[in-house]
Assembly symmetry: C2
């Protein structure tokens, strides 16, 4: 049987529409996987998402709108309804690709269809209590570094980014740029220190996730000239922002799970100076598409070496590793491996 | 087969220990059902609760402590783990008695064991989205008034209260008493109005659930003499409090689901003046064990008629309807009906 005729259920969360209007990281990935599979010729793909979602696959859902977009819903009610209904239909699919965290795992003992769970991140170590109860299933990590040592992973499949609205710029801008959510975890205050040490202008963009952090460690340094904050940026504004970038400063203080900002920056040809924590050394090729550093001093020193970086190589690294098509090709391989193992299991049981 | 040999799984929540150390309404009921079944000679009862729970039945659990008592736990993780593990063991039971809301219902399509769900209250209309997906199962309401019109109920089984520490007092005290959680829903401010209209002292007791409500509508009236607030009361303090009661004033502003306070008061021989909303007219026998009223004026008028009430009848009403033994006897009848229906179903399928 042609593998692309297999019946695939892609389970997206129902916090937001798939694809999301603005935010919604997991819905974005689930949507990209679904559309990518269709684009690559998969014939029987069903997206399980909010009813108002948009897809070229078949759409099935029981929740009208994302619970983050319709506050009359109790999130857990929508979550339970959505997940349990998908599980009730399990027999109609050859594979369920779960992008909705740990609750679907609790139905595994009751269904025969294999499930692949992409772990988009462990929001809290406590959720491992559920994961560890379900080791006889299939997992994908979104970076080699974001793995729990006790889970059996089939592969790492990096998130793929949408390259439209990301213009490759061979000529560098002259400013340092720091963008993403403004939070201590993302080291916005460290980007400011680097800029001051180098005497280079810094533009900061992104939603303020921790107002207290912003007010105490970021805002006092903003002066509208050498240190600017421009609020959050949509994809078009992000493209304009990256045009001005000499380098992107990304001194995260906790391990990155994947790091979309780094991939986007490189897609535009912008080298990234990142903290050597978590997935950063997987996304950035050290000294090729940016620099991995361990503190502000190293980061400031790296700014002085930016011209050693070939901006074409930055873009190329994304094209070869972090596009939606790369991601979907990665999942195709994983699906294939799952079908191979399932066939083997059936043979052994006969 | 002796019905009391049937294998019963009582599913308690894991927010608190079963029985709870202090709060934990659903855990209290689940515990009372379990111990009551054992006391009445049921031989195969398993309580599914936190591991540190205490029972004369068999105890099974996967969550060490209640998530309200151990803040390292993510409540949903403990909830999912607990419920899904019970469901995995479903085949080992003849009946699952669910006291843990709607999530267990989502596993119904996957298990063969019948489930009885006691609906301890609809915390939000939105949860009906799950209930309405599962009409082919068994439900019990905790009062005739607390029912959703679209669900098939087998019976109402009133909550049973523990009569130890509730002394019957044939001689009335001379004060009005209002107790329970201090919240607009419970009409504490209306009890104050009634007391002022009657010129009778009022004692208020209970935890402050809405501090703003307490500060603006209750506290300004407290003077330590004619209007007193004594904080929350444990069962022993409650018994002393009820000794002083001429009547209990319970002018709830939203429908009661059951109304423990009314049953406890009557157990001590204290007549209750209650708003005619929700289950109040099921718990109180109007003009026999108290008065149902519609506003403060009617309540004040009812205070003048309290001596028409036979305090023995108040106590008797509780003994005949609202003890733990009454509750468990009620559930026995429901279990019997479920087993009858299940046998019939099996016959029809053969």
């Amino acid at each position: 049987m042609d593998i692309k005729s297999k019946r695939i259920a892609v389970l997206s969360p129902v916090a937001w529409r798939t694809p999301p209007r603005a935010y919604g990281a997991w819905e974005t990935v689930a949507g990209n996987i679904t559309e990518g599979l269709v684009a690559r010729g998969w014939k029987n793909v069903t997206l399980f998402a909010t009813k108002e979602s948009i897809t070229k696959a078949k759409l099935t859902g029981w929740v009208e709108k994302g619970y983050e977009e319709d506050k009359t819903q109790i999130p857990l009610v929508s979550t339970c309804l959505h997940i349990s209904k998908v599980m009730e239909q399990a027999d109609e699919f050859d594979l369920i690709h779960n992008n909705f965290d740990y609750l679907p795992l609790t139905y595994l003992p009751f269904i025969k269809t294999p499930m692949l769970t992409t772990i988009h991140g462990f929001s809290d170590p406590d959720i491992l209590r559920i994961y560890h109860e379900h080791k006889d299933t299939y997992y994908v990590s979104i970076s080699d570094s974001d793995r729990d040592k006790d889970l059996p992973y089939l592969a790492t499949v990096y998130n793929g980014i949408d390259l439209s609205n990301l213009t490759f710029r061979p000529v560098p801008g002259d400013k340092l740029v720091h963008y993403g959510r403004i939070h201590n975890d993302k080291g916005t205050h460290l980007a400011i220190e680097v800029a001051k040490k180098c005497g280079r202008d810094l533009i900061i963009a992104g939603i303020i996730q921790d107002q207290n952090y912003f007010d105490t460690l970021v805002k006092p340094h903003i002066n509208g000239s050498s240190i600017k904050y421009i609020g959050s940026v949509n994809p078009l504004q992000r493209d304009v922002l990256l045009k001005e970038a000499y380098a992107v400063i990304h001194l995260n203080l906790i391990p990155e799970r994947f790091g979309l900002v780094m991939a986007e920056s490189m897609a535009a040809g912008v080298p990234v100076i990142a903290m050597d924590l978590g997935s950063c050394r997987e996304v950035i090729a050290d000294k090729q598409t940016g620099f991995l550093v361990n503190d502000v001093d190293e980061a400031a020193h790296a700014v002085g070496k930016i011209e050693q970086i070939d901006r074409k190589k930055c873009h190329q690294r994304v094209e070869e590793n972090f596009t939606i098509d790369c991601m979907v090709a990665g999942y195709e391989k994983v699906y294939e491996e799952i079908f191979r193992r399932e066939t083997q299991k059936k043979k052994m049981n006969n």
